[in-house]
Structure formats: C-alpha cells, structure tokens
C-alpha cells in the first residue's frame, strides 16, 4: 500500500502545484498606492487603449515603497503609482529616468529635480468638518489649533496614509522636528481618533463619530457621489500652514523593469489629456498639465499656498517620519 501511495502522492502534488503555478504573464505590473475605487477605472481605460494586460497590486504608498525596497533586484513591479511624492522620493534610488516628454509636461514643482519621477495630479490637504455641527468659520485655520481641549476625541487622522505622512514630513521640514513631535504628542494626548485611510476618516465625520479630520481634499467628492447629502465640507487652511500642503500623486519606473516600453507608455498615458481630464472630472484632483480645466467649484491650484517645502525633499524624510509616528504611538 505504502509503495503505491508514495508515488501517487508525489504525482498528484506535483500536478496540483504546477496547475496553480501560473507566473508572471502580465505585460505590465503596477504597484498602486492609490486605491482601486479612485483609479481602477483609469487603469482599465489604459488596458483597453493600449491592449496590454496589466496587473495591479493595491496598497498604501509607504507600504509599497517599503516592499520595493525589500524586494530589491527581485521586484516584480514595473511602475510605482504613488499617492504622494514622498513615497516616490523614498525609493528614488530604485527608479530609472522618466521619459523627457512626461517630465516636461508637468510644472517643475511637481517632479523630481533629477528626473526620476513625475507628479501626475495635484491635491491639497484640508480639514474636513461635519456641516451639521459646524459653520466653516468655527473650523480652525491651522492644524496647531487641533491640540486644543475643545477638540478632545473629536479629530480623526489616518497615520498609515501616505498623504498624511507627507504632511508630517512637510511639517518637520517647515517648523522642525521638535515642534512636530510636540504637535503629534499633543494630538495623541488629545485622543485623536485613528483611521486607516482618508475615506474612512471622511465617512466617520459624516456619521458624526468625529467632528473634523485631516485629509486630502478630493475624498469628499468621491463619497458625495454615493451620498449627495453627506454632511461634510472641506475647509482650506491658512496660507503657509503645514496643514495646507499641496502635494502630487506621481509615477516612477523601476530600474529593474523588464517592460520598460510598457511602463513608459503608462507614464505618458497618465499625463495625457484623457487621463488628466479623468483626474479633474472623476477624482476632483488638480490636473498638472496645461490646458486641462481644474475641477469645478474648487480654488485654482495656483491659489493654494502650502508651506515652503519642496516636494522633492519629502522622500528623504519618509523613513524618519514613519519612525517618529511609530515612536509617538500611531503605528501599534
């Protein structure tokens, strides 16, 4: 019996394993730090237009940046589509040069000075607030006011989110590590509520679980599409406040890609008129190329003045920002 079972087992196991082997048969593998609800449709559009088979791995931008770093030369990713410039900057050593036409189509502020990544859409940090409870005038103009007792337990933040992390990096560059740590500890001691991402934070405001939250401006519009009566609005902060950072989602091509041409094609697609209009119409982000209309009813990108921090410098800060968030107790 044993002599029969052993070879049988080996055969069946081998067949079962090889049947599910599969492997990398995609023409392009994208690591996307932007969530599927926002960009899934856009990537499908690219698949249709380019006739390429695309695999997407969705996650948080910082998580995917750490994954790319861990994978090193073995990374299956061809392209990193990040929610913010900081996560791209953090892995800039693993990125190859972006095609010149892509770089040149976006303003200098929104691309790597050394040409390894390019921003594709702009976004502003805001304080989103519950409109049943507050008039806009009651909402603070600076994030530094949120450590006040008046907001105890009523503020939501999403520490795992790359845009939040980029804002903390910008604050460190703007007002220094010490004041940033003090602010974070103040938020923690003021019982700030922690969420996984921007959408959860905005929804919690809508439900009345919290009063205000620190998020990117466009999630509100995404949720309003499902629930037009959502009792949430955005408050743009005082000019130059760290909380008013204007950041860019962007794209980088990995040096280790074996699909260089397809990757470049995806990057070119993201700065094409069609994709830029998608950002403006569907995700309510600021298009970064000339000639595409910004989303209706929003201030123009040029009117939003964030802290005087270059986006290209955020990348070097990510490691230490994550460490700081961890030390303050926002990770575990």
């Amino acid at each position: 019996m044993i002599r029969r079972i052993a070879p049988l087992a080996v055969t069946v196991a081998a067949v079962a394993l090889s049947a599910c082997g599969g492997g990398d048969d995609a023409d392009l593998t994208i690591y996307s730090g932007r969530n599927e609800g926002l960009v899934g449709e856009l990537i499908e559009r690219f698949e249709r237009e380019s006739d390429l088979k695309v695999d997407v791995r969705y996650g948080d931008s910082a998580e995917l940046a750490a994954t790319i770093a861990e994978e090193g030369d073995n990374s299956p990713a061809d392209v990193f589509f990040s929610q913010d410039a900081g996560a791209l900057g953090a892995v800039e050593e693993t990125l190859s040069s972006m095609p010149r036409p892509v770089l040149e189509s976006v303003p200098a502020r929104y691309r790597d000075p050394r040409g390894r990544w390019a921003g594709v859409s702009g976004r502003a940090r805001v304080i989103a607030y519950n409109t049943d409870e507050f008039e806009e005038g009651e909402v603070p103009d600076s994030v530094f006011d949120l450590t006040d007792k008046r907001w105890r337990g009523r503020v939501g933040i999403p520490p795992p989110n790359a845009s939040f992390q980029a804002f903390v990096s910008a604050m460190r560059l703007d007002v220094g590590d010490e004041r940033t740590r003090e602010w974070l500890e103040g938020m923690r001691d003021n019982d700030a509520q922690l969420y996984d991402n921007n959408i959860q934070t905005v929804e919690a405001i809508g439900r009345g679980e919290i009063d205000v939250g620190l998020v990117n401006h466009y999630y509100l519009y995404e949720l309003r599409r499902e629930d037009p009566d959502l009792a949430v609005a955005n408050h743009f902060l005082r000019r130059g406040d760290p909380g008013s950072l204007v950041n860019a989602a962007g794209v980088g091509i990995l040096k280790t890609t074996d699909n260089q041409e397809n990757a470049a094609r995806f990057a070119r697609f993201l700065v094409s008129d069609g994709a830029q209009e998608y950002f403006s119409d569907k995700t309510f982000e600021f298009p970064l190329i000339e000639g595409v209309q910004p989303p209706a009813g929003l201030p123009r990108l040029g009117e939003l003045i964030g802290p005087q921090v270059e986006l290209g410098r955020l990348g070097n800060q990510l490691r230490s920002t994550l460490k700081l968030l961890d030390e303050v107790g926002f990770t575990t």
């Binding site: 690591y31 299956p76 959860q200 575990t332």
Partner: protein
C-alpha cells in the same frame, strides 16, 4: 510490525513535508536574530506590554465566553427536552459558515450612529466588538466537541446519580462536567488559538491586538525588522497557550473516552426552564447567524452591489482552496502513514513537529514567506504556488489530525488479510484501504478547504498582483467602508463554505481536535 523500517521514499516525503511546515518559523527566527538592536527596541516600549496584556485579555475573555455558550448549548441539544432539539443542534453550529470578519462587519453595520438598528445603540467597536464577534465565531468549536463527547459518554453514570436523587443541576456539576473536561479543554484550546491568530476581526473593530500590530508595523514602517520581532512575540504567546494546555491536560488526565454508546442518554425535563432554554438557543443563533445573514441580504437588496469581479474572485477562491486542500492532505499523508504504520520514536517526533504550525498565526506565516521569497525565492514570490504553500503550512495540523484519525480506522490487519487472500497491493488499496480511509481523508480535506476559503491575512499579503479572492474582495470593500459591496462576496463565501460545514456538523467533530488526539 512496528519494527519494520519505513520505505525511504515515504520517510523522505514525510520529512520534506514537515520541513516545509517548519520553514517559516525557522526563517523568522533567522531574520529576527540578524535584526539590529533598533528592531529589538520594539519589545522595550511600554506600549508593547500593554498590547500583550490586551491581547491576552481578549483571548481569555473570548475563550471563557465561548465555553460559557458552547457547553450549555451542547447539553441542551443532547440531554434536555428543549423543543426542536435536532433543529438547534444544527442551527447552533451554523455560524461556522460565516468568516469571523463577516460577523464583525455585521455587528459594525447594525450598531452605532448610522447603524441599521438606529442611532441609539452604542458602537460595537474596539474590545467589545472584537470580543462579541470572536465569541460568536468560535463557540461552535466548543459546541461540536462537547456534543460529540456527550453522545459518546456512557449515560449510566448520569442515570446512577439521578437514581440517587440528585437534581439535574447536581448531576451536571458532579458527573457531566467532569466527563466533558477533555472536550472543553480541546475546544478552549481551539478557541484560544483562533482568537490569538485572528486578524480580520480585530482590524475591522480597530481593537488593540498583536496580529493587528504586526500588520500595522509591517505596513507603516520602512524597516520591517520590528514587525518580525513582534511576529515572533506572537509566536511565543501561542506556544505558551499550547504548553499551558498540555500541562492542564496532563494534570487532569484525559478522562475516559469509552466506546460509542448505542443507548441514548435519558432526557432531562426542563420544566419551567423550557422557555428560557429556547430563548437561549434562539438568541445565540439569532445574533450569530440570522443577524449577519440578514445584514448581508439587506445590503444585497438595498444597494445595487456590482457583480464585477465576483465571478473571477469566486473561481480564484475555489482554485486556491481546492489546491490547498489537495496539497495539504497529500502532504500530511506520508507523515500520518509513518506514525500510524511505522510507529517509532522518530516518527512520533516527526508528527509532533508537524503540529508546530499551530504556533504560527496566518499573519506570521505570511510575513515569513514574504521576507523569504522576496529575497531568496523570487521565482515563486507573489505566485499562487507560494500562496498554496503558505496555506499548506498554516493548515497542515488540521489535515494531519484528519488523516491520522482516518488511518487509525483502517486496521493494518484488514490490509494484511486482503494481501493474505492473494490480492495485490493495488487491489487492496482500492478495495480495502480507500473505502475505509477515504471518508476521513475527505473530511480532513474539507476542513482545510473551509479554512482556506476564509483565510485573510496570508492571502492579502502573499497573493499575486491583481489576484482577488472572495476574502480579499470583502476586505477591500471594508477598507473603504463600502460595506454593501462586501455583501456579494461574503454571501458567496457562505455558500461555498456550507457543504464543508455540513460535512463537519453531520460527521461530528472528528478532525476538529487541533492536536489530533
């Protein structure tokens, strides 16, 4: 018989299977040993201590509550005249079809501001929510094991006690409960291991627990060594639970198991307690089964959930679950044959080592495989093969327990008799061994299938890019709080899980015992 040397091929296969099972743990230890002092610093933080305390608190509370629900329920459906007792025996076990994170989702949906029950109810999040969801998800383990034990127990003892004029309560305390101790112990161990390893519920409920901390640390830090250190801490906690249970068991003794009794136990009339007993069964089934299924149905009917991707997610789920069930059962087979037919010190040691995966929560196995494959095995990194291997490691003990108990039912004497009567090995295999062992193997495979369908953390971390399963679809819907989008994949999961659960409920709890006793 026992002195026979096992064939080389069999030994090699058995050792290879156990080696694969041990690989993640070994690699994790290597990785942590090579980590810098900064990574170890995570252990010195006061927060880590709080985290351990809260995890232990949650596990202890869930275990106690699952026993408190499971034992009376088992007694009611086997010993009392509660109306509809056959119905309740099945209905009370049915929450097993629901993945625990779906239960959590349902509790979140009905409570708190904006909940389906109205805004007045407090939000069931954090510890309370995780405690409720985990208790409802795990009490069926205790229930099934206790029902089996009660059906097996000789009713003579209880009859004698009653004949001596003891009240039903006294009989329960003095006779039934001691009889049930081994079953309660095994059930409590399952519950404790499950809640210690649970990732989905504590994440959805935003409850503080080690699994979630490991994941957050993995996701939220550039340096992943601290996540590995925390993962190892979780392994240590799990080992402590296993060791503690072994100690308790050896102190208590295993109790008399007895043969299967043909005689039915006497029915205890509940009298004026009948209504309360029915209410108890109805409330437990209501909250654990009817409520979550209703929530899913409400979402399904109310919203317009898109069916995009559900078909491919269903096929993917089935593909990996069937592959995992087949591969895991086959991998367990040589080890089980070695210990059943060639029992010796080393084969027993091999089997014990195979159960080491009990100490490996899904999130830990996933992390170890990600670390290992990204650096050393790029060919299978982010492949379905690696995912199936991770399932194999994670659910090897279930398969091993199932296969071992199935083999123990096929007496070697029967095979020898068949061979003695001139039948060839193949003929013997087909006409004697397979019919005897087959149903047990299938039950073991069904359990692995069920566990794989519901598995979340390893699937999330190890799946190939763009490879969605029903479990990951539910997860994705919840991460952007589009709960209603979770309805279709969640219901689909229940439908797929139903046959496997049915098999478990009908065939009894064999194979549920985590240590294969």
């Amino acid at each position: 018989m026992t002195s026979r040397r096992p064939p080389w091929a069999l030994s090699i296969l058995g050792v290879a299977a156990v080696a694969i099972v041990c690989l993640p743990l070994v690699y994790l230890v290597i990785r942590v040993a090579g980590a810098g002092p900064e990574a170890w610093g995570v252990l010195e933080r006061p927060r880590t201590l709080t985290l351990v305390a809260k995890t232990v608190g949650l596990v202890a509370a869930v275990t106690a509550a699952a026993v408190a629900l499971g034992v009376p329920a088992a007694w009611l459906v086997t010993r009392s005249d509660v109306p509809g007792r056959r119905f309740w025996a099945v209905a009370l076990a049915l929450p097993l079809v629901l993945p625990s994170y779906v239960l959590a989702l349902a509790l979140l949906a009905v409570s708190g501001p904006g909940g389906l029950l109205g805004t007045g109810t407090p939000a069931l999040t954090g510890f309370t929510g995780a405690f409720l969801a985990l208790t409802l998800a795990t009490y069926p383990f205790v229930l099934l094991l206790c029902i089996a034990a009660l059906r097996r127990a000789d009713p003579a003892l209880e009859e004698a006690a009653r004949g001596l004029g003891r009240t039903p309560a006294q009989v329960f305390r003095a006779v039934t409960l001691p009889l049930l101790r081994p079953a309660i112990g095994a059930g409590a161990l399952l519950v404790a291991l499950y809640s210690l390893a649970d990732f989905g519920v504590v994440s959805l409920m935003r409850a503080e627990a080690l699994t979630r901390a490991v994941f957050l640390q993995y996701r939220g830090a550039f340096d992943r060594d601290p996540a590995a250190v925390l993962a190892l801490l979780l392994v240590v906690l799990t080992i402590l639970v296993l060791v503690g249970e072994q100690r308790a068991r050896s102190r208590l003794g295993t109790g008399s198991r007895g043969g299967r009794t043909v005689r039915a136990a006497p029915v205890v009339p509940l009298g004026r307690w009948r209504a309360a007993a029915v209410a108890f069964c109805a409330i437990v089934t209501g909250v654990g089964l009817v409520l979550p299924v209703s929530v899913l149905l409400v979402w399904l009917l109310r919203g317009s959930p898109s069916l995009d991707g559900v078909t491919s997610a269903t096929l993917n789920s089935l593909l990996v679950a069937v592959a995992a069930a087949a591969v895991t059962t086959l991998a367990a087979l040589p080890v089980a044959v070695l210990v059943a037919r060639f029992r010796s010190r080393w084969t027993v040691a091999l089997e014990r080592t195979g159960y080491a995966a009990n100490a490996l929560p899904g999130i830990v196995a996933a992390l170890a495989f990600v670390f290992f494959a990204a650096r050393h095995a790029p060919a299978i990194y982010q492949s379905i093969t690696l995912l199936v291997v991770a399932y194999l490691v994670r659910f090897f003990p279930q398969a091993l327990a199932g296969v071992t108990s199935a083999l123990s039912r096929a007496e070697p004497k029967l095979e020898e008799a068949s061979r003695g009567l001139g039948r060839g090995p193949a003929h013997t295999l087909a006409t004697v061994t397979v019919p005897l062992v087959g149903p047990g193997l299938l039950a073991g495979a069904a359990l692995v299938l069920l566990s794989t369908l519901k598995e979340l953390p390893a699937t999330l971390i190890l799946r190939p890019s763009g490879f969605d399963t029903l479990a990951t679809e539910v997860w994705t819907a919840t991460s952007v709080t589009q709960y209603s989008q979770a309805a279709v994949p969640a219901l689909m999961l229940c439908v797929l899980a139903a046959p496997a659960v049915w098999l478990l409920v009908v065939r009894g709890s064999r194979g549920l015992d985590p240590l294969g006793n």
